[in-house]
Amino acid sequence: MFQGIPVSPGIAVGRVLHYAPFVPQKWDKTVQDGSQAQELIQYEEGIQAAETELQSLCDRLEKSDPEKAKIFHAHQDILHDIVIDEEIRAAISDATSAQEAVYQVFGRYAAVIAQGADPVMRERSADLLDIRARLLRCMQGQPEQDLSSVHEPIVLLAHDLLPSDTAKLDPDKILAIITEVGGISSHSAIIARSYGIPAVLGVPNAVSEIRQDTVVIVDATKGEIYLNPEKPMQAAYLEKREVFQKQQEVTRKWLSAEPVMLDGERVEVELNIGLATKQELDASCHLDGVGLLRTEFLYMGRDTLPDEEEQVKAYTQVLRAFEGKPVIIRTLDVGGDKKLSYLNLPVEENPFLGNRALRLCFQHPEIFLTQLRACLRASVAGQLWIMFPMVGTVEDIRKAKQLLKQAQQELDQEQIPYADTIKIGIMVEIPSIALMADLAAKEVDFASIGTNDLTQYTMAADRMNPAVGHYCQMYNPAVFRLIGQVVSSFSAQGKPVGVCGEMGGDSLAAAVLIGLGVRRLSMGLSNVAQIKKSIGMLDARRTSEIARHVCGLSTADGVEQYLRQQLAEIL
């Protein structure tokens, strides 16, 4: 048996097809004076062959998948780019070999584009490298190994897959994908999930050890691959595959269901998002809003701070997609495990207890004010709520509100409009503010409980440190007791309180949270269907009994055992 990382769940039984992306033969870097004409011919013939390939690819895709065809039309334009062409010809006339010239010139521009500020444009760098590989292959007279010409369904095995490989995949012909490299967030994983193709990545030596045409079972629910299984085992897995697919269908139905409990009580289900993906924005109609918009992604992976305009644009996009449903923007939460290279923050002994999130924003009010102004300006596009992270004291709340007021006054002076319905809230993740929840609630309009940090601070166990991992217990009754106190304090004052940490998307924990009085759960898109399903199978009275019992237990293990037993049918 081979073991890898399951990145796209599912089960498949089928024959292996080896897919080896083109690896160019070595070439001479320079040529003797006098052979330039010959090199030029090789280059021109290569261009022509690549153009023919791209054109036939476009013609075929035009009918089946016009969006993908656009990618290859763009490749055609780049292939004929006049500046690149001029530079390659100049290099060839300087006695550089044609292949070396192509390799260098495309590589140079790919590197320049990869450093651009705009993420959409940075992606074009991968296209340049793709075109270079095609052109070099054509210059070497090698045929294209074409995934779109696969006729019967197969299990695709490759070292790794490139964007242009996956763009040509016919999802009906690919039973499963196995690669040697990659993980949960690699390009191949994203493609596999979007097509619903089972995939196991990161299987070491798979290419050399699994031969072409071997019959394999791919269990991508566990990341397991079995070679040459006996007939009964094949049959057993085909049956498993059917059960799995039926389950998937049921789950998909739940995604669009209204989250109502058996007794008719409604629970709001909201989304946690970072850089909003198309999938997330498209799902907006099935959700009650955004419970957590993480803004730090706008600030990370770049060399400079995002300016006000860029932020306004990003927030507006989400507000528009959610058409008047609440969108909770959490102000910048960096420090701790998230660093920004351009801020030159000093290394701290205990970053999670250090200068992070709101604390850092108070030290850099210019950064904070820019973000607050952007939030205010975007607020006209929908229903925006602002939430401050890492609030430890009531003074923190007052200071943050003071800065928000300053941003409002600035906009008033500049006569820039903003909504007057903005709600102001706090993230409850530090035990000190959880214990002061009754007084904190008087200062704000709402709260959201960040259970990951609340757990690590309550348990005094750094969640990034594996040595104390077993102390970071999400199911510890202490955490549930604390949450119960926060929920009662806010609810007593009629102020909404939600949960946006990992607990919100965990079926077992969510049942307890509902029992403690939480009626707003926010989670990643992948958990929505399961949580809606759980909600539909619970009622308020039963959940309160469960919550009461859980708060009376003495250990996290005891809680988990009890919940698994009580809630077996909703999992």
């Binding site: 656009k70 039309h73 763009a74 334009d77 780049i78 780019d81 006049i82 500046v83 690149i84 521009y109 320049v112 584009i113 651009g116 500020a117 705009d118 959409v120 444009m121 074009r124 296209d127 340049l128 305009e309 644009k313």
Partner: protein, 89 residues
């Protein structure tokens, strides 16, 4: 020589597809045409998709088109009009 400035209004800037369309329009003219990113000062041949991508012209960027040749006037006018139209976005 003829020149004129404007601002990029496409929501995602002058990225791949709009850049391709722009280059195709520029290629119809005989004049030498340059495009400037007025914010960074960088400039390039307006008939090259790749070079335009390297300019990183995002939404709101100020650009200048400069043409030299027999049809310079027409080139500048029509390319500025194309940018102002949002290049089909």
């Amino acid at each position: 020589m003829c020149e004129k400035t404007t601002v990029i209004i496409n929501p995602t800037g002058l990225h791949a597809r709009p850049a391709s369309d722009f280059v195709k329009a520029a290629a119809k003219f005989k004049s030498q045409i340059k495009i400037y990113n007025m914010d960074s000062g960088a400039s390039c041949n307006a008939k090259s998709v790749i070079m335009i991508l390297t300019l990183g012209l995002a939404n709101g960027a100020r650009v200048k088109i400069e043409a030299t040749g027999e049809d310079e006037q027409e080139a500048v006018e029509s390319l500025i009009a194309l940018i102002d139209s949002g290049i089909g976005e």
